[in-house]
């Protein structure tokens, strides 16, 4: 990536701009034909506070710190707290974020999807030998990303952020982050705030970003006897059906030495326990003899918040609502949005030398993000609406998943987050099969039994 000098208007600045390759991965530079009208900062670097040091926050802090911005990374929990999370990340995340393989607990190469009538289809025939879904413990991943951000220059602050004071005039008044650390209250003035504090984001509240609908994910960690655990060595299971969830799926995901059995729902949250019972019933023979070691639940956002950027505050990750429907995947999008936001700030501030404005955030981060991922999110929403609506549709989904072409396309798009090159003819066949399966299963589902 060659450096692209921004055409600076003011002739006093003739310094060559810092080479962007310090950031460790390829980045598409957009040639900014407009002039940078932002005010240069007098003798100091741009100060940024990143609230929340999960994948989103750590990636944002990493991008900011390595770009030259003075970064403060706030985190309230000690690094060993386990987060209730599936813990599955795609291959592209391992590559893009340089995640070492010793962090990976398991490499899932087989995915089984089971219909309401227990028709089971194995996904994974098309995986190449070096392809897998990586399962990690969140605390392990989060600690790694956090310490990497710290080693690149971010200042890690262990404390609970209680409030963000938003200045009511725009321009250069700083944002004041109030936090509690070591049983005492502190305040920190910064220029930019990135809210990466998850589904119940305090930052989002401070900027009145609006609310979003959440799904609840509920899971139990169960320690299985060895012979049952062997079945789940590289296998993850997905169960669909009205008995396990009316609008989502239930899962059995293997973790380091136990399995997580759980389910989720958006519209029937009060019955989540009954759905959990349902999935336990469905998996009964496979988890017989297991011991529940932990029970946890967490909200999962369903769609982005109405406001994701306001003033010089940006939301990333779960706080912004970047979780795909249908699969509920959020870790990769959190990390990626954190990174894109951080890089956008670095670029707009030219390495921390200039102040940035709301338009910069919107242009460098929001626009870029929407342009890149909105079709992915829209497609997953479509899949969820079509295939998770009724038991008949779920049966059709499982039937379709038996097809190799579908499996290949699904895995390609999941693992690499790119639209796999499809075969035109196979696409047509797939569409016909989809319509056929849906029609057949709907017919069978709606027949009045004689």
């Amino acid at each position: 990536m060659a450096t692209v000098p921004h055409p600076l208007h003011t002739t006093t600045f003739k310094l060559p701009l810092p080479i962007r390759t310090e950031i460790s991965h390829p980045q598409t530079l957009r040639f900014k034909a407009s002039l940078s009208t932002n005010a240069p900062l007098p003798g100091r670097k741009l100060r940024a506070a990143v609230i929340g040091a999960g994948p989103a926050g750590s990636s944002a802090a990493e991008a900011l710190a390595s770009g030259g911005v003075e970064t403060f990374l706030f985190e309230r929990s000690p690094p060993t707290v386990a987060k209730p999370c599936g813990g599955a990340i795609p291959l592209c995340m391992l590559h893009e974020f340089d995640i070492p393989s010793h962090l990976i607990d398991r490499q899932v190469t087989q995915m089984r999807i089971i219909s309401p009538s227990n028709l089971a289809v194995d996904f994974g025939k098309t995986l190449r030998p070096n392809e897998f879904i990586a399962m990690l413990r969140r605390e392990v991943l989060d600690s790694f990303l956090r310490s990497r951000a710290e080693s690149l220059g971010a200042n890690l602050v262990s404390g609970l952020v209680t409030d963000i004071e938003v200045p009511n005039t725009s321009s250069t008044a700083p944002y004041v982050v109030h936090y509690t650390a070591n049983n005492s209250r502190h305040a920190l003035s910064v220029d930019v705030v990135i809210g990466a504090d998850g589904a119940n984001s305090r930052v989002a509240k401070s900027i009145k970003a609006g609310d979003y609908a959440c799904a609840i994910a509920f899971q139990e960690r169960i320690k299985l006897p060895d012979e049952k655990m062997a079945y789940y060595k590289n296998m993850a299971e997905m169960y669909v059906g009205n008995d396990v969830s009316p609008d989502f799926y239930a899962w059995v995901f293997p973790k380091c030495d136990h399995v997580a059995v759980g389910t989720g729902t958006v519209r029937a949250k009060q019955y989540i326990k009954a759905y959990q019972r349902g999935i336990r019933e469905r998996v009964k023979p496979k988890i017989a003899g297991g011991k529940v070691i932990k029970v946890e639940a967490h909200p999962i956002p369903e769609h982005p918040r109405p406001i994701r950027v306001r003033g010089r505050v940006a939301l990333v990750g779960d706080a912004a609502g970047y979780v795909t429907k249908c699969s509920g995947e959020g870790i990769y999008f959190a990390a990626k949005s954190g990174r894109m936001c951080g890089e956008g700030i670095v670029k707009a501030s030219e390495g921390g030398d200039r102040m940035i404005e709301e338009e910069d955030l919107k242009r460098e981060y929001l626009k870029a993000w929407d342009a890149k991922y909105i079709s992915t999110f829209r497609f997953m929403d479509l899949l969820q609406r079509v295939f998770y609506g009724s038991n008949a549709a779920r049966e059709a989904l499982v039937e379709l998943c038996g097809d190799e072409y579908v499996q290949r396309m699904t895995f390609e798009s999941y693992l690499y987050k790119r639209l796999a090159e499809g075969d035109g003819w196979e696409d047509v066949k797939m569409v016909c099969n989809t319509i056929g399966s849906l029609a057949r299963c709907n017919i069978v589902g709606s027949q009045r039994p004689l």
């Binding site: 009954a274 017989a288 029970v295 994701r308 306001r310």
Partner: protein, 266 residues
């Protein structure tokens, strides 16, 4: 662990979870053992039908308590329940225990023609060829039954049947053709009367009507209408569908709407 299943008589036919209304847990049988009460006052040892809301403080997990008691006579701390297979998330509202032990799944789908996870087509034969209509009916019945009585999935007897086993022409003959006949009939009637009406009002005959662009548009609209609106509910469904399709997109674009009225800065 929980091999104390043997202590309980097998479950009777459980009503189990129905579709959208609060599902009911499997009834816990009155255990006829005299075990030391763990927290006897808290647990109701009846065929409790604790509703799905965890607001109900009554835990119907009598079995839970008893089971854990049986298993862990050693320690009786107030929270061994959590350690057991029966999940009791939180102090209140513990679930009706689904003993994850060696209980046979009593409520399995049984049919003489359902063998080895699929329909035995030979049992459906009529005049030497499988009677596909009967297969479809049987499968419909099975799926409906499973909706009300979900079965555990097991690796030992996997389900193999899926609807693609039934040949395409069987579907068409039974479901598409009658509907097609209906719709074509409607379209023909509408077409005839509209042609007559237009002819009597404007004097334009059938052939000349077909050459006119406006008439062709009307024809197109009526064909689409006949196809899409077949029942009274379809109109509402179509409107809802349109709304749903664009809803997610609206949520994503919401962040950009703020810009429009006067580009507010904060």
């Amino acid at each position: 662990m929980s091999i104390s299943m043997a202590l309980f008589s097998p479950l009777t036919h459980p009503p189990s979870l129905s579709r959208s209304i609060p599902p009911q847990p499997h009834p816990i049988l009155k255990p006829h053992l005299s075990l030391g009460p763990l927290k006897a006052s808290v647990f109701l040892l009846s065929t409790a039908r604790a509703s799905g809301d965890n607001g109900a403080g009554t835990s119907a997990s009598g079995a839970t308590a008893l089971e854990s008691d049986v298993d862990q006579k050693i320690s009786k701390p107030p929270k061994p329940v959590v350690q057991k297979d029966e999940s009791s998330a939180g102090a209140n509202g513990s679930l009706g225990a689904t003993e994850a032990g060696e209980v046979e799944v009593v409520s399995k789908f049984e049919d003489t023609r359902w063998i080895g996870g699929t329909w035995d087509l030979k049992k459906f034969e009529k005049d030497g060829k499988p009677d596909w209509d009967a297969v479809i009916d049987a499968e419909a019945r099975r799926r409906k039954w499973l909706q009300d009585n979900p079965e555990s999935s097991s690796n030992d007897d996997p389900i193999i049947f899926d609807t693609s086993i039934i040949p395409w022409w069987a579907w068409i003959k039974r479901f598409h053709l009658p509907e097609a006949e209906l719709l074509n009939g409607r379209a023909a009637m509408i077409g005839f009367f509209m042609t007559y009406l237009v002819d009597s009002l404007t004097g334009v005959g059938l052939v000349d009507q077909m050459n006119n662009f406006f008439c062709k548009t009307l024809l197109f609209i009526s064909v689409v209408g006949v196809l899409l609106i077949r029942k009274n509910e379809d109109l509402e469904n179509l409107k809802k569908l349109l709304e749903e399709t664009t809803f997610y997109d609206k949520q994503w674009q919401a962040t950009w709407q703020d810009e429009a009225p006067g580009s507010s800065k904060n």
